[in-house]
């Protein structure tokens, strides 16, 4: 974005002012996350930069908090819980959310908007309300304090993301393709898996990613619906913060940030690949 030669002084000032504002916004968003990364390598058990760290002395840094994370049974239990719950919740969200989005994209479905609003509501309703509601409901039917309960609760939170992303990809989906598939002899199930699914896959994947991160990061619902056996990473971090302020939390946070970046990068690569396919698609 270069300045044209005829730009006035005002435009020049705005041009650079705009860049400064963008930089500030970027800093505001990133700084709180970036600051934890050097802190997680702290050799002391504090949340602060020691004078040694600021002077870049090598013995002021250490991996001991990472070692703690990978050896402490509490953290390992939490990690294994998260790794168990999040994928299951994701699979549920993706299957149900995709089906809902495909169904709701058909013209003949009555009350589409109302149904859509209800399905999306977990994203809009304050989490604490959903969590309290789920707590009472799940205790009645015996799901409170079970893995199944947490998985179902997280799936409910993830479904709106899947519905939204899949609905967005379905907007660009050419209906005559499903008709063509039917005219060629494929039944609706084959048509879905062979024709529709491959083309809406980018939406399904990014919806799934959001659902996964929702479950992986979620602390409120799991506090209500889960019991000590289902303590997930965020829950463990939350208790860690309240009870013993250990920089291990920062190490975990850094690992989670790295995972998030890796996932987002994957999705971006997939999205570009599908855009390439789509950009060249006819009609």
């Amino acid at each position: 974005m270069d300045l044209p030669p005829y730009a006035t002084t005002g435009q020049r000032i705005w041009h650079y002012g705009f860049k400064v504002i963008c930089g500030l916004i970027f800093f505001f968003l990133i700084a709180p996350i970036m600051v934890i990364i050097p802190l997680s390598f702290n050799a002391e058990n504090f949340f602060t930069f020691t004078p040694g760290m600021l002077a870049f002395e090598s013995d002021a840094y250490s991996l001991k908090h990472y070692r703690d994370f990978f050896t402490n049974p509490d953290w390992q239990q939490a990690l294994s819980n998260s790794v168990k719950i999040a994928p299951m919740a994701t699979i549920l969200s993706v299957s149900l959310g995709t089906l809902a989005a495909v169904g709701l994209s058909q013209d003949h479905v009555p009350f589409r908007r109302a149904i859509m609003a209800i399905l999306i509501s977990p994203m809009i309703v304050p989490l604490i309300i959903s969590a309290a509601g789920m707590y009472f409901f799940y205790s009645r039917i015996g799901l409170q304090g079970t893995y199944m309960g947490v998985v179902l609760a997280h799936a409910a939170l993830g479904i709106p993301f899947v519905i939204i992303t899949v609905t967005a990809t379905l907007v660009g989906f050419d209906r005559s393709l499903t008709r063509a598939s039917a005219s060629l002899g494929a039944d609706p199930v084959k048509t879905f898996f062979r024709v529709q699914m491959p083309l809406i896959l980018p939406g399904v994947i990014s919806g799934g990613l959001f659902a996964f991160i929702t479950s992986f990061d979620e602390v409120v619902v799991v506090l209500f619906v889960g019991s000590a056996n289902q303590q997930t990473l965020p829950w463990q971090m939350f208790t860690g913060l309240r009870e013993q302020i250990s920089p291990t939390i920062l190490a975990v946070a850094t690992i989670l940030v790295a995972i998030s970046i890796a996932l987002l990068a994957t999705v971006e690569i997939l999205r570009r690949r599908s855009e390439r396919l789509r950009g060249m698609s006819p009609g």
């Binding site: 050419d174 005559s176 393709l177 008709r179 063509a180 598939s181 039917a182 005219s183 060629l184 002899g185 494929a186 039944d187 609706p188 084959k190 048509t191 062979r194 024709v195 491959p198 083309l199 396919l277 789509r278 950009g279 060249m280 698609s281 006819p282 009609g283």
Partner: protein
């Protein structure tokens, strides 16, 4: 008007279609299509032709009446079990599959073995002269090439009936003419029954064995192309097919198959009564531009002549197109061949034109 016989391959029997339960998009359709016939449904948009095609394909259900395929009612058979090939307006090729995968798809869902499948795919590609393109993706092909692939895909599983929904609409004129020829050639070579939907009358005339002209949810006329053009049964068909000159008048008398018509400016002419029967009825006289003669020597002795004033002369290369004022109508067009002895008329010139009474058809107003 058009009743189906028992031997017809496709039969529409008193079919009606309404989307909202109030207005009928298709009104009482009766149509029989013979085995191996190339039938075109021609009509303006909203005339119900595409709805008929979609009902035959199974994507719309008839509100009333039966559709029969080879004698069997198909109302309750889902589209994927009808075994009807279809070419879509936007081709509807699967963008995530290669050309060969697109063609193999209908064979795959029919559980045809791999080697057999490959052979059939290659044969279908060769048939549309696209043998080299099996590995490409649809997006890497031009519109005309995509159109050929769509055609090959609709034919590869050897259906007996193929439906085409304005398949040439997106192509440029030259390519369209070439594909018209190609499609009719294939249809006749393979002996398949074809139902073709278009709003392009040239396409309908050049490709079809019979044309069904649709308007307002009804078939206005069902006839071979020459009959449709030369003997339109009503004023809609006369005006929709080809260029047409119209003169308004009132029937004075009808004797021995000749109607005496008084035009609105008082002139009396003879015409062939088509769907007028009573003296005193208003009528629309229809004359094709190329049947109007300006050279008196070429007119027969029973020809009718009338005065005209030249308003505009357009040179079109192979023909001259001249706009005249005839009996108060400023839009009377005649076409004359660009022959060595042909005169170029000048605007303002007063001339005498003539035609044979049988080329002048008295239709309902």
């Amino acid at each position: 008007m058009t009743t189906a016989s028992d031997t017809d391959f496709v039969v529409f029997d008193r079919v009606q279609k309404s989307y909202d339960g109030e207005t009928l998009v298709v009104k009482d359709l009766n149509l029989g299509i013979g085995r191996g016939e190339f039938l075109t449904m021609l009509g303006p948009s909203g005339s119900g032709k595409t709805t008929c095609l979609m009902m035959l394909a199974g994507f719309e259900t008839a509100t009333h009446g039966d559709i029969l395929l080879a004698g069997q009612p198909i109302n309750n058979i889902p589209p994927h079990k009808r075994g009807i090939g279809m070419v879509f307006q936007n081709y509807a090729l699967f963008p995530h599959m290669t050309v060969a995968e697109n063609l193999a798809f209908p064979l795959e869902v029919r559980n045809i073995g791999k080697s057999d499948r490959d052979a059939k795919v290659q044969r279908a590609l060769d048939m549309v002269q696209m043998g080299e393109f099996g590995g490409r993706r649809p997006a890497q092909l031009s519109g005309g090439q995509q159109q050929r692939i769509a055609l090959a895909r609709a034919l590869v599983f050897e259906p007996e009936l193929v439906l085409m929904d304005e398949p040439l609409g997106a192509l440029d004129k030259q390519l369209r003419e070439h594909m018209q020829f190609e499609i009719t050639r294939l249809a006749h070579e393979l002996g398949i029954t074809t139902v073709y939907v278009t709003h392009d009358q040239t396409e309908a005339l050049t490709m079809s064995d019979r044309v069904a002209v649709f308007d307002d949810g009804r078939i206005q006329q069902l006839a071979p192309p020459d009959e449709l053009y030369e003997q339109p049964q009503n004023s809609f068909v006369a005006q929709f097919i080809g260029e047409n000159n119209t003169l308004m008048g009132t029937v004075k008398e009808i004797n021995d198959g000749v109607a005496l018509v008084e035009l609105d400016d008082g002139e009396l002419i003879d015409a062939k009564p088509v769907n007028v029967s009573q003296p005193g009825e208003r009528t629309l006289i229809s004359i094709r531009p190329e049947r109007v003669e300006i050279n008196k020597d070429r007119l027969g002795e029973n020809a009718h002549t009338i005065h005209a004033e030249v308003l505009e002369f357009i040179y079109m290369g192979d023909i001259y197109r001249t706009r005249l004022r005839v009996a108060g109508n400023d839009d009377f067009v005649i076409k004359t061949r660009n022959a060595p002895d042909q005169r170029r008329l000048q605007p303002g010139e007063k001339i005498e034109i003539g035609w044979q009474p049988e080329d002048c058809r008295a239709l309902e107003a």
